[in-house]
Amino acid sequence: MSQAADSAAEAWHADRFGRWRRRFGLAAFGAAVVLMWIAIAILAPVIAPYPFEAVDVTKRLLAPSAQHWLGTDALGRDVLSRLIWGSRISLFAGIVVVAIGAALGVLIGGVAAYAGGRAEELMMRATDLVLCFPPIILAMAIAAALGIGVRNTMIAMLVVWWPKFARLARSLVLVQRSQEYVEAAVVMGYGSGRILFRHIVPNAVGPLVVLVTLDVGQAIITFAGLSFLGLGVVPPMPEWGAMVSEGRELVDQWWVATFPGLAILSVVVGFNFLGDGIRDWLDPKSRRR
């Protein structure tokens, strides 16, 4: 073996950690951020320094200080405490909407794709219809019709969300359906349900997981956006989008809007990194030979 090849190979070896870090480092970082927020959400009652609804107008709009690390809002409530409690709603809404949306989408899209024919056509047209609307406006209209509140806003988001998953599930099922292992299952005489849910779906789950993970971030942003526009949560429950909205006109009191925005950004980045990482990990093409 020649010298140069040797050293190149050695360098390659030595940089194994570097490569791991380049490929999975961001994913690990993302996972860490997401886990951190989940921990914060769970531990909110323990770690929040003040009750989130403790109004004290004599302490309103205080700048960050030792007592209030992130300052106080227009009602003198501790921004940090509200941020911590707010993580519960954002994470809950984001994860639940996407989880239900994905389950619903997979069910509808998967069955439609597997059944084909009229069922598939119907589903595709239904998704077309939903995709005709600007998502925010449709969600707003529905949320307005149902009334303000976390559950109603989540329902509105679901209506907007499922077509995406249904279409993805459909295309994934279509890809899998023509695979020989599915034909083998047909030849074995297995029923459609068994083939769809035991064979096809587990194989289609990978790309779905990626999309689901990336979408949790988008769902959190959307929920925050709807809250920002005044839907979403009923006060005094803190929610990040609503907190940004409360602080938006307060240019001098930058902390009121800035921190909740950073919170959204960080958790969404976390989910995005995580999703990207899972994608890289699942996609052999992005791996080196």
Partner: protein, 673 residues
């Protein structure tokens, strides 16, 4: 540059890939020469390093590949390994051209042929745009493309595979190269098209004086084209010599094994239908075995093989990397059982009987009112399979052979016709009728990588049908049965705990076979079960099938495009073309006296790894390509390419007439070609 120096001289080429698992040496010390105007072949299985060798010459390797220092690739005396990027670029497509395996993906789908043809010439700056285009059109004509003026303005998808490979050749010859490297140029093509392209290669070599370095896994192809041959195994050249001598009498056990693993069209298959297969698989290139790399699989290995042999002369103009032959020993031909007549599977009632089976696929409508176009995949096929018989179904791509497999197994429903299995017509049976039959008809699939559910362990894959069809009681029994099945296909029972991706292609095909056997079927449809495998593994799998059939008394429908393989395993053979049966006969009769011109051209087009035999053989070259199954020709489907076609062939469709007992052909001029 001196006249005496070879055109290309490769010395001690080492190429390795840097992977996460560490460096993998794909090519390890390869040396050879190509004289000007010569034809040199490199043969080997996948992973042998033959393609990497070819790519190393032009430095077209992937990013993570490194050519080791000390490697010398001298072209006309210049070391290509040390040229800078710009200099090597000027050589590419100039002095040295290269064409690749898959003509379908080698052309850029979104660019016109003209652009792709001309850009290579412009890059070397010898011609103006107009000159280049004219030259390109000339070249296309030279490569046998009709109406080249029109062809240049087309897009690649408008051409068939064979045509694209001709376009690729035209691109290769655009700058009058002195060396053409052809990396598996015909592997993706049908056998009749392959013959055309190989002929073209030979002609080009002769007329342009261009040296050809041909890379192939197929000894027949190499024998057809090359004067000299290198055999590669595990990154090394194990044997080198003139093609004729090397193929006639190999001096390395690996060459020997390769030659004997391939069924030959010019020889009767042995009575036991078995091939000489060596056990095992090529070594993992990241951890080559010490000593001779072939030793673990070598039937001739001796004690000395623990040391690594060098490539040394063993005869005039021949070298081998083998202690045994270097010591002067000969490698004897394997003993074969004498040919015996086909077993009589005469028994009256056939097990499966297809009558006038039709499958049409409607294409998506372009617009609401435009007529639906239909692919005539299978267009009125009659076929009988007797109990215990092996029927071979052979045809080129688009012949409808895989569709027939899917109709019998009712993965798809036929458009018309009947498929009788016992008393039941599979063609019209509904789900409840089919379910109990499923167990009795099983299928083995083409792609060992796609046919096993990657999310299930082998144990789950095998036990699921057992439980589903209630063939076992409880998990204990299932586990025992899975173990049995695995051993039956030559795998260890421990394989049950692992996932498909942990196995090689051949092993997966064994697992797929075990799955089919799990439900104790009577009929097994094997759809191109070996076409994705390497030569030696093919032989192993064929032997497995043959053994299973004899042991379990199975009935087989064996589908393949390779005539020699079909002949090896089948009792009777059905030749398919464009969804219709052309000829049916016992394996013996078909080869002894083929009646249909298509059958004859198929036989003659398949190359034989024997230079002398190849020279003597009749060569019928079919013109053109198979027509589209969307608009099949009127009358006889084969007439557009038939060497004996006459007026009547376009008007009247020839019936599948019986010429002698059990030998039928659909031709107005049967046996006259």
């Amino acid at each position: 540059m001196t006249d005496s120096a070879p055109l290309l001289e490769v010395r001690n080429l080492r190429t390795e890939f840097l992977t996460d698992a560490g460096p993998v040496r794909a090519v390890d010390g390869v040396s050879f020469e190509v004289e000007a105007g010569a034809t040199v072949g490199i043969v080997g299985e996948s992973g042998s390093g033959k393609s990497v060798t070819a790519l190393s010459i032009l430095r077209l390797l992937a990013e993570n590949a490194r050519i080791g220092d000390g490697s010398r690739i001298a072209f006309r005396g210049r070391d290509l390994a040390t040229l800078d990027e710009d200099e090597i670029r000027r050589l590419r497509g100039g002095e040295i051209a290269m064409i690749f395996q898959d003509p379908l993906t080698s052309l850029n789908p979104v660019l016109r042929i003209s652009k792709q043809l001309v850009e290579g010439m412009l890059a070397h700056g010898r011609q103006s745009q107009a000159e280049a285009l004219r030259h390109g059109i000339d070249l296309l004509a030279r490569m046998g493309i009709n109406a080249p003026e029109r062809a240049v303005s087309g897009y690649p998808h408008e051409f068939s595979g064979g045509m694209r490979q001709r376009v690729m050749l035209a691109m290769g010859f655009a700058n009058n190269p002195s060396l053409l490297i052809a990396d598996e140029p015909t592997t993706a093509l049908d056998v009749t098209i392959q013959a055309q392209i190989l002929d073209l290669l030979k002609t080009l070599n002769r007329e342009f004086g261009t040296a050809v370095l041909l890379i192939s896994h197929d000894l027949g192809v190499i024998a057809n084209v090359c004067e000299r041959v290198l055999v590669m195994y595990a990154g090394e050249v194990v044997e080198e010599g003139p093609a004729e001598a090397l193929l006639a009498e190999p001096r390395h056990p690996y060459t020997w094994a390769l030659l004997n693993a391939v069924p030959r069209l010019d020889q009767e298959p042995p009575a036991d239908k078995r091939l000489t297969a060596i056990e095992g698989a090529p070594p993992d290139p990241s951890e080559p075995p010490s000593g001779c790399r072939f030793r673990p699989r070598c039937p001739f290995a001796v004690e000395r093989c623990g040391e690594h042999p060098d490539l040394l002369p063993v005869a005039e103009g021949r070298k081998a990397r083998c202690w045994v032959t270097q010591a002067g020993e000969r490698l004897l031909k394997p003993s074969t059982a004498a040919a015996v007549s086909a077993p009589a599977a005469e028994a009256g009632q056939p097990m499966l009987s297809l009558r006038n089976v039709v499958k049409h696929y409607p294409l998506r409508r372009d617009a609401l009112f435009s007529p639906r176009k239909v692919v005539h995949a299978v267009d009125g096929v009659d076929l009988d399979i007797g109990r215990g018989e092996t029927v071979g179904l052979v045809g080129e791509s688009g012949s409808g052979k895989s569709t027939i497999a899917r109709l019998i197994t009712r993965i798809q429903k036929p458009t018309a016709g009947s498929i009788r299995f016992g008393d039941i017509d599979l063609a019209t049976a509904d789900r409840s009728v089919l379910r109990p039959l499923r167990r009795r008809i099983q299928m083995i699939f083409q792609d060992p990588y796609a046919s096993l559910n990657p999310r299930m362990t082998v144990g789950q894959i095998l036990s699921e049908p057992l439980r589903f069809h209630r063939l076992v009681r409880g998990p204990e029994e299932a586990k025992a049965r899975v173990g049995e099945l695995l051993e039956m296909v030559g795998l260890s029972a421990r394989a049950a705990e692992r996932y498909p991706h942990e196995f090689s292609g051949g092993q997966r095909q064994r697992i797929g076979t075990a799955r089919a056997l799990a439900v104790e079927p009577e009929l097994i449809i094997a759809d191109e079960p070996i076409s994705a495998l390497d030569v030696n593994i093919r032989a192993q799998i064929i032997n497995l099938f043959v053994g299973l059939q004899q042991r379990l008394g199975l009935t087989f429908l064996f589908i393949a495009h390779d005539l020699a393989v079909v002949r090896q395993v089948s009792d009777r053979i059905v030749v398919l073309y464009l969804g219709k049966v052309m000829e049916v006969a016992t394996a013996r009769d078909l080869f002894a006296e083929p009646l249909h011109p298509y059958t004859r051209s198929l036989i003659s087009a398949a190359p034989i790894p024997d230079v002398a035999a190849e020279r003597k053989r009749e060569h019928i070259r079919l013109a053109g390509e198979p027509p589209s199954p969307v608009a099949p020709p009127s009358g006889c489907r084969f007439r557009t390419r038939c060497p004996v076609a006459q007026g009547i062939c376009a008007e009247i469709e020839p019936p599948l007439a019986e010429y002698r007992p059990g030998h039928r052909a659909a031709c107005h001029f049967s046996g006259q070609a």
